[in-house]
């Protein structure tokens, strides 16, 4: 069991950075949407709701995928991380294009479209958790240990990212650069996961 735990440790550590990148996106998108909707509670609610809705739905989807692709969970995780990174890089352009295009439509149109747009990456973020729980469970056969470790490391990554974003990233970088930084983290997580997988198979 100890060996199994050591084997999955790199993946658990990588989940720190996955949570790290996710919260950076949330903070940056939140700011970008304030500029589109205005700084009012409706905007805040939409942003919080879309994140929660996306994460929740993504979690269910991830649970389903973890059963369907039970033998290639790391590949699934890598694909999701790359998808999040790609969306992250394009997100500024997408949000500003959509905001301009739907500005003069009905009041509810823009929030709805933004909601749908951001559902894609947030669902992907939500899906990573159950996928990795299923993967780690294979090594340690303990539900609570898998959940606890992953939840802890992912949330800790998000917490550190919060302080780092407001204390350093926003001080030294622009919003665009911060988005690129977060996407690079996603790509790095995916790349290291592939290396890890190759090592395990090799």
């Amino acid at each position: 069991m100890a060996n199994a735990s050591i084997i999955s440790r790199p993946i658990i550590r990588l989940f720190f950075f996955s949570g790290f990148a996710a919260i950076i996106y949330q903070i940056v998108w939140q700011r970008m949407l304030y500029a589109s909707f205005g700084t009012n509670i409706e905007a805040i609610t939409i942003i919080v709701s879309v994140f929660m809705f996306g994460l929740g739905l993504g979690s269910l989807l991830g649970g389903h995928l973890s059963r369907k692709y039970n033998t290639s969970l790391i590949q699934l995780f890598v694909t999701i991380e790359i998808a999040i990174g790609v969306f992250g890089i394009c997100s500024k352009f997408l949000i500003s294009t959509v905001s301009k295009a739907f500005l003069n439509y009905h009041d509810a149109a823009l929030p709805f479209i933004i909601f749908m747009l951001l559902c894609i990456p947030t669902m992907a973020m939500g899906a990573t958790f159950p996928v990795l729980v299923a993967y780690i469970f294979k090594s340690n056969r303990s539900v609570e240990e898998s959940v606890s470790k992953l939840y802890y490391i992912n949330t800790m990554g998000s917490a550190v990212a919060c302080f780092l974003t407001i204390g350093l990233l926003f001080v030294f970088l622009t919003l665009t650069q911060v988005l690129i930084f977060a996407a690079c983290i996603n790509f790095a997580v995916a790349a290291i996961s592939i290396v890890y997988l190759k090592k395990r198979i090799g």
Binding site: R31, S66, E144, F163
Partner: protein, 517 residues
């Protein structure tokens, strides 16, 4: 434990947890006057608590294999107790020393820690250890967690914050957590003796909530505002809270009351140029900056003092005011000096975000746009100070139109103005900008001032003192600043760099430090 019950508990716990997060953001923003980064900092504290709590929950449930179900009410009770009674303790301690307010940050972490510990315990109790269903069953509890987190901000943001004070909302959330603990105790905890003992303890805590509210928590905002100088007589004249934030009004026995928006100075209720505690003469300067500002747009209403001055300037035919916080109107109604503004036929007040309104009303043009903007270092100030916003506002100006706004002492705001307009000048800490020169002659200025009225009489004909003030306004220099500003090394505030919020303060400290060597 059945999976459905675990999902329900996960949902309710996260509902309480996220609702509390909103209240913490609201309160800490108030204490820090809405400093940029507070949202991120509180979110970071909450997540730190949740992360550490999830480890604690796992370890505890591992140690107490036989009685994991007992852990749930324990964690809920601890979370609620620290949330409510911890806050009361902090409120009492800040009266001893201001520094104790810092305990609020620790409290956020500790409450999140206990509530965050619940999720792994629920997973241990409800998820089976069949390999093929682990991911899916975990995802259901996680989804329950997420549903609660979504419903929390919706209900707290839209219903509770609009109708109840932050202190009452905190009571409700703490009470709800204790009530949930009580239900779990009676459904799950083994042994009738323990069940009875635990129930009595939790019920006692619930009963202490109204007592704690009446004795301490009902004056929460005052205590956080005045800190160690809080006394029974230091109270706000008015308090308004809506989902857009908290407005408090400080009484001034011999002068104008002061409005505080989210803890930061908004302005004094005053239109009298002689009193000028709020620098209202800056508003009267419009008479020296534009020959005939028929149509005026004002972004932000606040105390309504500036709006009232402009509404009684007879050269203005229409005054459109866009304000995001509706609670200001309720407060203005209480001040006879300002309240006629609300029934003035040439005044139109729109409740909306200024920027959004401008974007949606691109054909609306004005002769004068005025914004008594808040401090440049506050969260989201970029939205009104960035070059993008200035360019958008410029498109709403008629030919020779003027834009006039508060720099709150920021050179970056002046520099950004110089990048957006051909002519830039300043009046105290305000910047005025236009694509036409500020070239009104003294005779032209003199002609404008009789059109300012106050209490239905000419504002500057009251006495010698008002006439002196008028003459000062007529003779006020409007320096040409653009060229000299553009040579300076200041930040151009953009939406992308958020310089006024995050960069200029830190960078100026870095430069000072560097120069000291």
């Amino acid at each position: 434990m059945r999976l459905r019950l675990a999902i329900l508990i996960a949902g309710l716990t996260s509902f309480i947890s996220v609702s509390m997060e909103i209240m913490w953001i609201e309160i800490i923003s108030y204490i820090t006057k809405g400093h940029a980064g507070i949202f991120g900092a509180v979110l970071g504290l909450v997540l730190t608590g949740i992360a550490l709590g999830s480890r604690y929950g796992y370890r505890k449930s591992k140690d107490q294999v036989s009685s994991s179900a007992n852990l749930l009410p324990e964690l809920l009770t601890l979370g609620a107790t620290i949330n409510f009674f911890g806050l009361i303790a902090i409120l009492l301690w800040v009266k001893v020393h201001d520094a104790f307010v810092g305990l609020l940050f620790i409290q956020v972490v500790v409450v999140s820690y206990y509530l965050g510990a619940i999720f792994p315990v629920l997973c241990k109790l409800a998820v089976s250890d069949k390999e093929e269903s682990v991911g899916q069953e975990t995802s259901w509890i996680y989804a329950g967690n997420i549903i609660g987190s979504t419903a929390g901000p919706l209900f707290t943001g839209y219903v509770l914050m609009d109708n109840l004070s932050p202190a009452i909302t905190i009571c409700i959330m703490s009470g709800a957590a204790l009530l949930l603990a009580l239900i779990i105790i009676n459904g799950n905890v083994d042994g009738i003796k323990k069940r009875l003992k635990d129930s009595i303890f939790v019920v006692t805590l619930i009963l202490l909530i109204p007592i704690g509210y009446l004795t301490v928590l009902s004056t929460m905002m005052e205590r956080f505002h005045f800190l160690s100088s809080f006394a029974d007589w230091t109270s706000f004249r008015y308090q308004e809270h809506s989902r857009q934030g908290i407005i408090t009004v400080l009484p001034r026995p011999k002068g104008a009351d002061v409005f505080l928006g989210g803890g930061a100075y908004d302005g004094d209720v005053n239109t009298d140029p002689e009193n000028n505690v709020n620098g209202i003469t800056r508003c009267y300067m419009i008479g020296s900056m534009h020959r005939k500002p028929s149509k005026v747009l004002m972004i932000g209403l606040s105390t309504g003092s500036w709006a009232q001055v402009l509404a009684n300037y007879k050269l203005i035919d229409s005054l459109t005011i866009v304000e995001i916080q509706p609670a200001y109107i309720n407060l203005i109604k209480k001040y006879g000096e300002i309240s006629p503004l609300l029934s003035n036929p040439k005044v139109k007040i729109i409740i909306d975000d200024g920027r959004r309104w401008m974007r949606r009303n691109q054909n609306e043009k004005f002769d004068f746009i005025v914004m008594n903007t808040t401090f440049h270092w506050r969260e989201h100030s970029t939205n009104l100070l960035s070059i993008e916003f200035l360019r958008m506002a410029k498109n709403h100006l008629n030919e020779k139109g003027v834009m006039y706004w508060n720099t709150t002492g920021s050179k970056d705001v002046m520099y950004t103005a110089a990048n957006a307009f051909k002519y830039v000048t300043s009046v105290a800490n305000f910047v005025a900008a236009s694509d036409a020169p500020f070239d009104m002659t003294k005779a032209e200025r003199e002609k404008n001032y009789p059109y300012f009225f106050r209490n239905s009489v000419p504002a500057f004909e009251k006495n010698d003192s008002t006439r002196v003030i008028r003459n000062k306004l007529i003779n006020a220099e409007l320096p040409v600043l653009r060229d000299s500003l553009l040579k300076q090394n200041y930040w151009l505030i953009t939406e992308d760099n958020m310089a006024s919020e995050y960069k200029s303060g830190v960078w100026s400290r870095i430069m000072k430090f560097k120069n000291s060597f």
